[in-house]
Symmetry: C2
Subunit: 246 residues, 2 copies
């Protein structure tokens, strides 16, 4: 509330000075911050107008389709921001690249909180085939980024499915994380997710030759000090009593 | 179409003989079979009446709330059926129990096809917070079943998250499977999913002591001929060049 007091008093001046694009951006930012705190059902255009320090008619001028249009625009803007999280140079060990992307992703989840949950849990009044398509676009973009980093232009069905399954399980983990008051820490959750990715990849490689060559290449870049090394040294203790399987 | 011809000609007689509960069940069965072939948007009460060989007013008598009510009732019935898939005696290796439950689950997915996709992909006109709650109930039931089989009354946060992540990734795999014309075979997909479950569990065990004791107990029941043994013998080849991590 306090952060919105200042814009309200400056509104008449800001009103004139913002370009159409700036104004649009300002309204979307206000909307996103409200959607982050409450489910879409509990956000009205009045709230957005108040948060942005502008009149309700102005909000309608920019979003004549009302809340649904505003929500979809805010979602598109969030989706672009989210896709930025995945941008990562193809340099260094895979676990480090993935870890950095996950740090940004979890910061995004942390910041968008209620809106993120409402969106992914489904059943919200503002959910349509269009909002579903936007979210699916983000998932697809994430999968493409990972396959780029794995450096496989033509992934095998098993590799593709493994990557897509992991992305969905990251989503599930984010929702559980929000639901459980953001515990464990974002850093710990990132480590869990990176480890899972590596072992899911190794599992797929066990019966899929194309995945196996991807894994060999990826592991060659890992270091003993990194997450793959830490995990590799931990597992023998877990498997100590499993010699009967070999 | 041919399967519906017979009921139509017998309709007047069947009309009188069915009890309320039988009639309700008949209408839900007809609805489920339609929802399996088309998205909910493309199923009308007329279609359900025709498929069940009854009049449209009769369908409305049973479901005065129209398609939405019918859809939710059909979904509830499908959810019960789905939960039955998970019922499995707590006997024998975990991978065998999981494999059998997955066989039933994949047969369900196979049979409910379009309706399954529409439901889980979201954004359908019939999706509401109630339908979302029904689907979440199934996910929760699946997680509880697995934790029962792991024999952990008080699972650690990491173990609980691992199980829930795997359930979501099974869902994702089912949707991809339907989307890709049900390839690979259901049996192969089941094997992938069982393997993933085991390695995700082993991964969690690497840094979570409660998960480690669960894994040790589970692996003790596995045999060299079973999926865990097959996987265990395959992985050394994948990891042959990864000695630098140890």
């Amino acid at each position: 509330m306090t952060s919105e007091a200042a814009p309200t008093t400056r509104a008449p001046r800001a009103y004139r000075r913002l370009s159409v694009e700036e104004r649009r951006r300002q309204l979307l930012t206000a909307a996103l911050s409200l959607f982050a705190q409450r489910v879409p059902e509990d956000v009205s255009l009045d709230d957005v107008a108040e948060a942005a320090g502008v009149s309700r008619p102005l909000v309608y001028r920019y979003f004549p389709g009302g809340k649904q249009q505003l929500y979809e625009a805010a979602l598109r803007s969030a989706a672009e921001e989210l896709e930025q999280c995945f941008a990562e140079a193809a340099v260094g060990p895979l676990t480090q690249r993935l870890g950095r992307a996950l740090d940004r992703y979890l910061a995004f989840v942390d910041g968008h909180d209620a809106g993120f949950s409402a969106l992914l849990q489904g059943g919200s009044v503002v959910e349509t085939s269009r909002t579903t398509a936007i979210v699916d676009g983000v998932r697809r973009a994430a999968a493409e980024h990972i396959l780029d980093h794995l450096d496989v232009p033509e992934p095998s069905p098993r590799l593709r499915m493994t990557v897509r399954m992991w992305i969905t399980s990251v989503e599930a983990a984010s929702l559980i994380w929000l639901d459980e008051g953001k515990r464990p820490s974002a850093g710990e959750l990132r480590d869990w997710l990176v480890e899972q990715f590596m072992t899911c990849l190794v599992t797929a490689a066990g019966s899929d030759a194309p995945s196996a060559s991807v894994v060999r290449r990826a592991l060659a870049m890992e270091s003993a000090e990194g997450p793959a090394g830490v995990l590799a040294r931990r597992l023998p203790a877990v498997l100590a009593d499993a010699a009967h399987l070999l």
